[in-house]
């Protein structure tokens, strides 16, 4: 044993304080399905942590072998007993076991060291990279900031997805729901958003938190690998709970994620939190509530399921300048069944959030990815946060797509259509092609602006929709190589000045001249 360790142990022994204080205790009267009923603990508070005395009757050696303290969380205060959810292995809890109050509300340890790590609901590292250095405990349940503490959403958060950043812009501090059936690309949008933050300048780059609620461990591992590969893990924290964990851990996971987010928000920093997904969260809460014998309501969910999600999402905010101006942007995910957005949980969360990104299985199967239904996707507050450059180019795209959707049904009668309708359909198809993007390939906003500007100003005229993607890539390469000053000016100025417009128009003309092979029809 090295002398340093011996010194440390000696120091600990010298400073050991053996005095204790009397503590309030109760006794487990029944236990089952992860819920323990405890008699006593008359002064226990809601959401207080209690510790189970799993070491009673065991020797010191046996207690030392145990994996830390087994905690429970008080969730029901009844006349003679309290009901506690066990935050760990419930089979260790026995009838008659002594339970002590800790006097602490459930909290999660936080600090700079938590960034880039994978933690469980209790903030403990599960990535095998050692103990996380933390400097504070943040309560998991907390009242959201009030009206006077907040400011309006006025800064964009770029997702790197053209369809979203142009038509459904999201602002820092907004809550934007991502909703759709299984396998429609909901998580991909969230992950792309996280990856895209690497294009933000370091001082403005948000901390990202991905909360996996009841996900398969393989999925969480693959997300972690993707983020690491993209270099996005260095500014991301993953709060992971798997389907195999007890329902209270799943129920608490998004609250823990939000508590971590609040720590950074209070330092004046921006945070993006992905809650994947709240449907599983609602199911976990339903299971826990039924076991706690709370009365079931619609679809057997407890009556306070709306309050549960509203108080969670209300904690996402853009703080006023006086409070540092930090923000939490929430991207909750909801999985629908057969596209039914009118089910209980989807309607609840739609009404709580500031807009929704609706993904459709049909579009996904047609190869339109991201499978975004731009007709029913909305952002209620994001447009005020959009950059001037994007605002200038995005107006036309929405109109063109709306017209295309109306005319889409007539596409099969192509030969009978008049020239104007044909032109509109052709233009719409090109916009649809333009908005397609590969997975994990977010595009920085300045490139998006150039692409969409090009589409609005004849870059794709006299070509076929099939060539749109190739033309876009080549055009962006051309700008990057020969006209980089345009890209730099948009990135820094975030505006399309008359001078830039002129340069872009010239660039389009020059590009078309140099790449005539893409343009088969005569001008």
């Amino acid at each position: 044993m090295s002398t340093t360790i011996i010194d440390r142990i000696k120091k600990e022994i010298e400073s050991l304080d053996t005095t204790t204080q009397p503590e309030e205790v109760g006794v487990v009267v029944s236990v089952g399905d992860g819920i323990a009923e405890i008699e006593g603990l008359t002064k226990a508070q809601m959401m207080e942590m209690v510790s189970f005395d799993t070491g009673a009757g065991a020797s010191v050696k046996e207690v030392m072998k145990q994996e830390g303290t087994l905690f429970g969380l008080v969730l029901n205060l009844e006349e003679d007993t309290v009901k506690v959810v066990i935050l760990g292995e419930s089979n260790l809890v026995k009838e008659g076991m002594q339970v002590s109050r800790t006097g602490k509300l459930l909290s999660v340890p936080v600090g700079e060291g938590i960034v880039g790590r994978v933690v469980n609901t209790l903030g403990e590292a599960i990535d095998g990279k050692g103990v996380i250095a933390t400097d504070k405990n943040m309560p998991i349940e907390r009242v959201a900031y009030g009206v006077m503490d907040r400011s309006s959403v006025n800064e964009p958060i770029h997702t790197g997805i053209k369809a979203i950043d142009s038509m459904i812009p999201i602002g820092r501090g907004q809550r934007e729901l991502i909703i759709g059936d299984r396998q429609t690309g909901k998580t991909t949008i969230a992950i792309d958003t996280i990856i895209n933050q690497k294009y933000e300048p370091k001082e403005k780059r948000p901390i990202c938190i991905y909360v996996a609620i009841g996900q398969k461990r393989s999925k969480t591992a693959s997300i972690m690998a993707k983020l690491e590969e993209a270099g996005a893990l260095e500014y991301t924290t993953i709060v992971a709970t798997s389907a195999a964990e007890p329902s209270p851990m799943l129920f608490l996971a998004p609250f823990a994620g939000m508590a971590i987010g609040e720590y950074f928000m209070e330092q004046g920093r921006d945070v993006v939190i992905v809650l994947d997904d709240l449907s599983k969260h609602a199911v976990a809460y339903r299971q826990m509530s039924l076991l706690l014998r709370r009365p079931p309501g619609r679809e057997a969910y407890p009556g306070d399921i709306f309050y549960l999600h509203s108080r969670l999402l209300e904690r996402s905010a853009k703080l006023s300048k006086e409070l540092g101006g930090g923000s939490i942007t929430a991207l909750p995910i909801i999985e629908t069944q057969e596209g039914d957005v009118s089910a209980y949980i989807p309607t609840n969360v739609i009404s709580i959030t500031d807009g929704q990104i609706f993904l459709e299985g049909d579009l996904f199967n047609k190869g339109i990815r991201p499978a975004l239904n731009v007709g029913i996707s909305v952002s209620r507050v994001g447009s005020s946060a959009q950059t001037k450059a994007m605002k200038k180019v995005a107006g036309k795209i929405r109109l063109e797509l709306a017209q295309f959707r109306e005319l889409e049904a007539f596409m099969q009668f192509a030969s009978d259509l008049d020239e104007d309708t044909k032109k509109r359909i052709d233009s719409g198809r090109k916009y649809v092609e333009l908005l397609k993007q590969k997975q994990n390939n977010p595009m920085p906003f300045y490139k998006q602006v150039i692409s969409i500007y090009g589409a609005n100003n004849g870059l794709f005229d006299n070509t076929t929709p099939e060539k749109v993607s190739a033309i876009e890539t080549t055009f962006l390469d051309f700008i990057m190589r020969d006209r980089k000053e345009i890209m730099d000016a948009i990135e820094t100025g975030r505006e399309l000045t008359d001078e830039l417009v002129e340069k872009l128009n010239k660039s389009i003309a020059d590009f078309k001249e140099a790449n005539a092979n893409y343009y088969t029809k005569a001008e």
Partner: protein, 126 residues
Amino acid sequence: MKNAYVKALTESILAGKNTEQTLLSIKKQMEQRGHLRLWPQVLKASMRVLQARLKSFVPQVVIAKEGEVSEATLQAALEKLGATEAGYTKTIDQNLVGGFTARVKGTFYDASYKRALVDLYRRIIT
């Protein structure tokens, strides 16, 4: 239903009502309601509750070795926990290593070496 009868029975007895009369009256009620089949279970559960309650009324002390902790120390600890009566039950648990634990109703005081050693161990390994 069983729990309701148990609660009624134990609360009446703990409130100082005549035990025999209470038992008879609850049994009669159960018979009238057709719940007499639950009677053995109600009695068993009530016994358990009453025993636990009575046990919690009497201060309990656990020590590691006989004579290791002075009577004065134990009495002082019990007083600190609010014990009003002089009597207490004492048991020996060698796993405590040294020191003692005391419990009065819902309050617990752990002055054992076992706790101190486990605390020290956890502080060193984290």
